[in-house]
Structures are given as C-alpha cells and as structure tokens.
Amino acid sequence: MRSTTIGPCTAESTIPGSEHARVVRWTDADVAAFAPTPAAYRSAVPLADPTRWRAAGADHAAVWGRYIGSASEPYDVTVVHAPGHATTARSGCTCPSRRVPCKHALGLLMAWAHRDVPDGERPPAVARRVDRLDAASLRRDAAPGPSADRRTADGRRPSAGRDDRMAKLADGLDSFDRWLLDCIRLGLADPAVRDPAAWELAASRLVDAGAGSLANRVRRLASVLEDQEPDLSRLAEELAIVHLLAVAARRSGSLPDGLADAVAVATGWQVRRTSVLDGVPESGDWFVVGRHDTREDRIEVRRTWLRSLTDRRWAMLLSFAATGDGLDASFPIGGWFRGDVFRYPGATYPNGSVRALVGTHGEVGAVDRPVDAIGAVDVTTARAEVGRVLAREPWTERVPVVVDASPTRAGRRWVLSDQTASIPLDVAPRPLAVVLAASQGRSIPIMVEWTRTGAVPVSVIGPDRVVDVGRRA
C-alpha cells in the first residue's frame, strides 16, 4: 500500500555540503512576530519586492542581502535567525534607522518567507557580520538559552533526543494553553483574539513544538472565525476540546499507557510507520466499507474505512497526496481482503487506535458473502457505539458506524431516522440524492461518519454492492 507521511508544516530545504543541512524557512507569521509593531511590519511589505535585493542568500542560521532603494548607497542587511523562534533572532542593517529590526530586515525576511531568497554559501563579509551580531548577543544575554538552541563549541546543534522532544512539546503546549486561556478571558469577540495572524502564530508555534495535529485543529478553528457569521458555539466547544488535549498531553505521564499514547498521537506526536508495522497484527477478513477525501492546504487526505468481518472492529487507513497527484486507490470500496492490520497507538481498542496500516494482504476482491455481514444497527445502538468511543478518546472528531435507517425530513432539516430515534444529516445535495435513491423511503444500511455537525454519509450498503457517496477532495 502506497502512503505518505506528512509532518509539521515547516518549509525546509537542504544546502549541499553544509554540516547544518536543514534550513527552516520562516513564514509571514514569524516575520510578523519579529516585527516590533504591526505598523513596522506593514511598512516593510513593499521592501519584500525581490527586484529590490541583490546578492541575497540564506543558510541554516542567517539571511543576508543588499537592499537597493532610493538612497545613494545600498543597505547591507543581515539577520541571524533561530528557526521558528522569532524572539531570539537578531538583525543588523547599515541604514540610519535606530529601529531594530528595521524595515529592511523585515522586508528581507518576508522575501525569504516568500521563497524569493535562494539558499547559498555565506560570503565572508556576511560571516563577519554574523559573528559581530553573535558577539553582541552574547554580551547582552547573561543566561544560556533553552537546550534546544544551545550549540556546541564548533557551532553544531546537539541532536535532539526523545527527552528534548518531549520537553519542547511540553513547553509548546504550556505556552499554547496560556494563550488559549487569555483568549477566553479577553473574549472571542475581542479584535486581538479575532486576528487571524494570532491564530496562525499559535498554530505555527505548535508545529515548532511538535504538535502538528493540534496545530491543524487550531487552523481549522481559525477558519471558522473568518466566516461572515461564525458559529461561535461550535468554535467555543472545539476550543474546549483543544484545551482538553493540551492539558492531557502535559499530564500524559500520569495517564494509563493506551490513553497516553492516544493523547500523544492526537496532539501530533509522529509515530514511525516501521514502529506500527512492528506491532502485533489483527489478522482476518476485512471489508472496505467507504472512503472520504478532504483537502488541507495543498494536501489531499483520504480516509479509507475497513471493517473486520470477524469482530466488526473498524480500522482507518490514512493516505496523502499533493493536489493532482492522485490518492491511493489500493482498496476499492465494496471489496474485501484477507490480511494483517496493524494499529497505531491509542485507546479506541485494547490494542490501539482506529488508525491503522495494512501489512501483508491478499488480493482485494469483490465481496462474496452477504453484505449485511458488516452489521448495521439502529440509531440508538449506533449512539451507544459512538459513546463508547468518546468515553475513551473524547477528542475524536468522527466515529464510523453503519446505521440501518432512512433519510427523511424533520422540518427543513434532513435526518436519518428509524423507529428508535433520529440524528441530523450533514450532507451535500448529490450524496443526499444518492442516499434517497437507494432508500426510496425505506431503511437501508448506510455507513456514516458521526460528527458534531451530523452524520456524514460515506457509503450505502446495497443488496449486492456498496455505493460510494463519500466526499471527494
């Protein structure tokens, strides 16, 4: 099975021949954080024009360039950047401004963030300016920086072990939670809280701390704020869940193992594929029930839902592709295979999370047994299944169930109903039409993702095939 793992959203490149190979490029949010005031940031925007810069370059620790403006002489600008840490960067410029960082330094950093400054070898003159900035910084700072920023005598960064990662994650979560509580104290209506740049900065810092999944949740919340009429109730509830995760992650040492693992993964702790495949598999027959595609930035994400024909446990396969590259189609909807499924760490099941990888498996063929073998339940029983999952992992955003119900209308809302209860449907017109066409007023088995906004149909289990109604990216 073809799949790609994505990590935190940093822009990185490699400088050939350099001992410090990884350049972690700043984003606009980092530059905004480095600016002394928002007005200073805005005044630097025109200076990000790449045509104004000569002999510009960047490496793992510095960005440099010569600014050609209206003055008779150009200005030489140097910025020593600590990757992702706007608070410890240093800048120098030959312009007469007393402001530090000046608008030339900010403009250069913006051009770098916009990929208008190439990677390169540091020229000797730039190296001397960097040394002067470092020396000035040492004179100012009496105490050493955090361990992640400390360098050895020859300027190398010590390799970050697991303990360092954990410490960095804890620091990042602590800082994030303090920011979140400040937002609640100030109020979600406060302009400073509604500022998209503040949310992007919070998300970026979570990424730097190694909490990429949490950062993605924060970014999705930020997009809610940008709506004309934001759903503040949903936003507030989601913030509460994000707070829960942040607190749990900081206390993971006192949690039971499975729950601690689940918290770590939900926060963004990267688990190596090889580690997962080294675990104990669940071997058996698996039915490919449905798939659902979404797009996050320029990445398309596919969730493929499998259900064990032995014990009806669920497994979710995640695959990723850059837009236009084509998502993994190894497991067509309605097929089945005999194989090994390895679960990621988590608490949904005794042996792990619903997220999984498929190991050795046979050919995926058309299902050769009644499709009701996957086990559809009524709405009330489905609710109980959802409740059991949430009791173990309350931050879960979607829970798979197969419900035997019919789509119908309750006033202006579409719902799925049977004789026991009803739940709202969250569905676009085309998949709704397909579900209606399959149902024609009768109850039918429908696989849905149970979410806060309602049941999202993923597939309809027909008499001799599965009809795919999952969303396309």
Binding site: L180, L181, I184, R185, L186, G187, L188, A189, D190, L232, S233, A236, E237, L239, A240, I241, H243, L244, V379, T380, R383, V386, G387, L390, P394, T396, V399, S406, T408, R409, A410, V415, S417, D418, T420, A421, S422, I423, P429, R430, A433, V434, V435, L436, A437, A438, Q440, G441, R442, S443, W450, T451, R452, G462, P463, D464, R465, V467, D468, V469
Partner: protein, 253 residues
Amino acid sequence: MLEPDVDITVDELVTAAVLGTDRRPPPEAPPGPVHDLVADSLLSDPAERLLVHLGAIAVQHLAAAAPDPPVAPLPAPMVHDRRWCPVDVVEHWDRIVEEFAVLTDEWLSLVAASPWHPPPDLAVDLLHRSRSDPDRRALVTEAVGPMAGWLIDLVPVLGRGRTARAIPVRPPPIGADEILRIVVEAVRISSPAARRTTLERVLATGAPEVLDEVADRLEGVVCGSGWLATLEHLGALARFRHRMIRRFAEPDR
C-alpha cells in the same frame, strides 16, 4: 439536542466565552454529571472552568446524548419491482461513456424496457447531466422510472429540466450490406473525425443480428494506416453493441 436547561447553559457559556470571563463569569452547570465533572476539577480560574464545562458539553453533543425523536419516513415513490442494474450492465455504461457515446440513447432505452433501473449513484448522475437536454431527459426519466420525479422534487439541484418531449423514435435497423456500402462511401468524407462519427451512427442503427458479421468483415479489410484505427474502433463498437443487446435480452443470466 440536549435537555432544555443544558441548552440554556450552553448559550450562557458561549456568551461568557465571547465576552470574556473577565467581563462575564461563566454559569454554573445544572446538577448532574457535568456539574460534578467541573466541580471535581477543583479549578478556580473561571476561564479554565468554562473550558472544562464546554468540553463536557461538546462530547455530549457529539455523542447525541439526547438524540432527537424518530421522524416518519418519506412517502415512497410509486411501487415497482425493478431492481438495480446488474454490475456488468453498469460496466457497459462505463464503456459507453468512455468510448462509445453514440450508444447512450440505446442503452437508456434498453434499461427502460428492462426489469432494471440504474443504481442510485448512476441514476442521480444521469438526472443531473440531462437537466438541459430535453430528449435525453425523456430517456433518462423512463430509464430511472417513477423514482425520477420523486428525486427531483426532493433534491431540486437535479434540475427540473426543460419540458421533456416524447421519447425519441429510433430509426429502422439496417442490414449488413447497407452498412458496408455506407462504410465504403464514407471514404469521400474528408474529415477523419466526421467520417468516424458518421460510421458510428450507422453502426448504432444496424440490425443487432448482423453486427458480428459486420465486425468480421471490417476487421478483414486491408487498408492504409489512416483507416486502420477507425475500422478497428468500428469493429469493436459493433461487437460491443451486440453483446450489450444480448445481455438485455437475457435479464435473468
């Protein structure tokens, strides 16, 4: 939907979150498990208490802790005993869309006359695509059956379409010799694309029983490379059409 007093509390919580707990203290939870959860947290900071309270409610919302009552099902469209098209018949449609679009109307007519109707996803696709083509819409409506009007009423984006005309009448079938005579005369059509289209239409109206014979004779023609691909395509079209028609003649296979 949660209990009414919980709903009121949610509103007050969200209001406190929007105004800020510095200005508006969060409400207390009504007695119950959520109240106990917040109390047990021993948090003194109103912002933290609000987030714990809201988190519990968020989980309750997701779990549909108090689901809505059952709702009556929709009235069904007219009762009929037509089943979903078998998988291989749908695969014929996929091939038609990909290679043999000239057979679209015939496939729809065959479905309309069969004990089948298109499966749900195909039915919806057909209705949506035909909403601005009255002739095609008439055929689609016949193929989909009584469900078509019912679906359009419920999901207006499928398009009411322009007023459907009567079902288009197919021309009488022509025999093998006539087909091959037209193929030979088509050499006078200078545009390869127009030539191919003309010949496809001819094969689409050929009598079913002569299609295999026509395919054999086309494949036996010695010709220049300019014609070879066209003749291969026409031969494939003829055989495919014959298989398609035979399948509909044996619905119980």
